[in-house]
Subunit: 290 residues, 2 copies
């Protein structure tokens, strides 16, 4: 039963408020516990059950969002997933986006840019895969790679990278003005948990295909990546498109938190089934006669 407050129990915190990065001020990721459960379920069994319980509500809101788009509502949602290797971007798509109707999801995993993509402004390839009205878009990595790996690996001149923060903010503001609810999630993983997850891939031959020795070299750059992420969270958590920090060491919590974040955003949109623009009784009579 959806209540006006989105079905929250009295006193239950709004997760958006709990996880939101304020932006505009320096941030120290070391101050955030990647194993924390800052709101919601505190144990695995309860977490899994809570996430499964959100499924029907998410799918229902998604259907209404899509239905509204058929009558001209341009609103849509874009989930941006960023985080270190093994932080669970792919797992989120599988377990959280798997709760939705796949036909309304537009998923894109960004890889190293192709030659054609590099010949265009860095936002070009992003524009091409945006969700359409009524859809849920999901970015597994995103334009933020152009201020993350690009910064850590010196893939572009410093001055150019410095300009990109502002370009990203203006781009996302335009998206918001056009009806896109941008939900940016940083999956906050600890250095130790990453080691454990990479070792797990080595221990299981069925997971060797997921392992790349290059991941160990990237791991050596952890401090530089952390600094790059801190800068992103400081510069690009805006009112139009805030960043949310999700503790990601516990997979069940990560899945619950992102499901709940999406639910809160979809409930705030409150999409409506559009009325038909036809004569119901006339159509019924014609159908019965057919």
């Amino acid at each position: 039963m959806a209540k006006k407050d989105g079905g929250r129990k009295r006193g239950e915190p709004v997760l958006r408020d709990v996880l939101r990065i304020p932006g505009g001020e320096p941030i120290d990721l070391g101050a955030y516990d990647s194993r924390a459960t800052p709101a919601g379920p505190t144990g695995k069994a309860a977490g899994l059950a809570a996430t499964a319980g959100l499924g029907p509500r998410l799918a229902g809101l998604q259907e209404r969002l899509y239905a509204a788009s058929t009558a001209g509502d341009r609103r849509r949602l874009l989930l941006v997933l960023q985080g270190m290797d093994t932080s669970g971007k792919g797992g989120t798509v599988k377990h959280v986006i798997g709760l939705f109707n796949p036909s309304g999801c537009r998923i894109h995993a960004f890889k190293a840019p192709t030659r054609e993509e590099r010949n265009h402004p860095f936002l070009w390839r992003v524009m091409r895969v945006l969700p359409q009205p009524g859809e849920i878009g999901i970015f597994d990595r995103s334009h933020y790679e152009d201020v993350l790996i690009a910064r850590v690996r010196d893939l572009a001149p410093r001055r150019e990278i410095a300009r990109r923060y502002g370009q990203i903010n203006r781009f996302e503001k335009s998206l918001a003005e056009d009806g896109v609810t941008v939900v940016k999630v940083f999956l906050h993983l600890s250095y130790e948990e990453q080691r454990a997850r990479l070792l797990e891939r080595l221990d299981n031959p069925d997971k060797h295909w997921k392992f790349n020795p290059g991941d160990i070299e990237e791991r050596a750059l952890w401090p530089a990546y952390r600094q790059a992420y801190e800068r992103v969270l400081e510069r690009c958590s805006t009112d139009a498109a805030p960043w949310y920090l999700v503790p990601a060491d516990r997979k069940w919590y990560r899945n619950w938190a992102i499901s709940k974040l999406l639910l809160e955003h979809l409930e705030a949109l409150d999409p409506k089934y559009p009325p038909g623009d036809f004569d119901v009784e006339e159509s019924r009579a014609r159908l019965l006669a057919s």
Copy 2:
């Protein structure tokens, strides 16, 4: 436990053989019962349970297919869904494709062609949205519309439409040669069940957005569509890409049958997790030291 025969019980028929349209000979759709359950579960509760039970096996095979593609295996699967309005193309995507990991599914719903698409050969827009190696592609409608509605509505000269059957067969043969397992499903719905489903949409204001009075006009062309489908099944059920006829009046049976068809095809592909091409012990040592 997967057995060599794909986990079938002794004597259980291969659904592919049961539902396959032979091709090359005239077909009378009136001879096929759209409420039949020609193999598998015969009741709704058992059908729903059986479909849910296939989910983990489907997702597991999908992961292996994707994993294999990272080591150069080009194989992929393309599910083509065709059927009259309300026959359940969208429902299949929701309930069957919803069993897979959404990140490996490439879904495309074909609408009336745009001006740009009409200016190209009719297969042009199809080529652009094919699944890539390791992916499951899903077409909700397809290039077959160009010999279905195009024939019924005279959208192209007769001679041109007559040529398309051969063009489709050659196209699909090329796909098969390139590693695409093409699974074409005709959702066989009765005229009476379509009326019931359209009435259901009228009865529920939350479903009015799905109703278009134009659907009643299309329904008046039922005999012409049926003939067009009969021609497709006769001309285009080939060894490279056979058509399967799925009785679609019972939604639970439709979902089970398509899930099972996909399972049989994926089991026949039998994709393997690729071995790693790196030194596991060396990587483990470097990780533990990091």
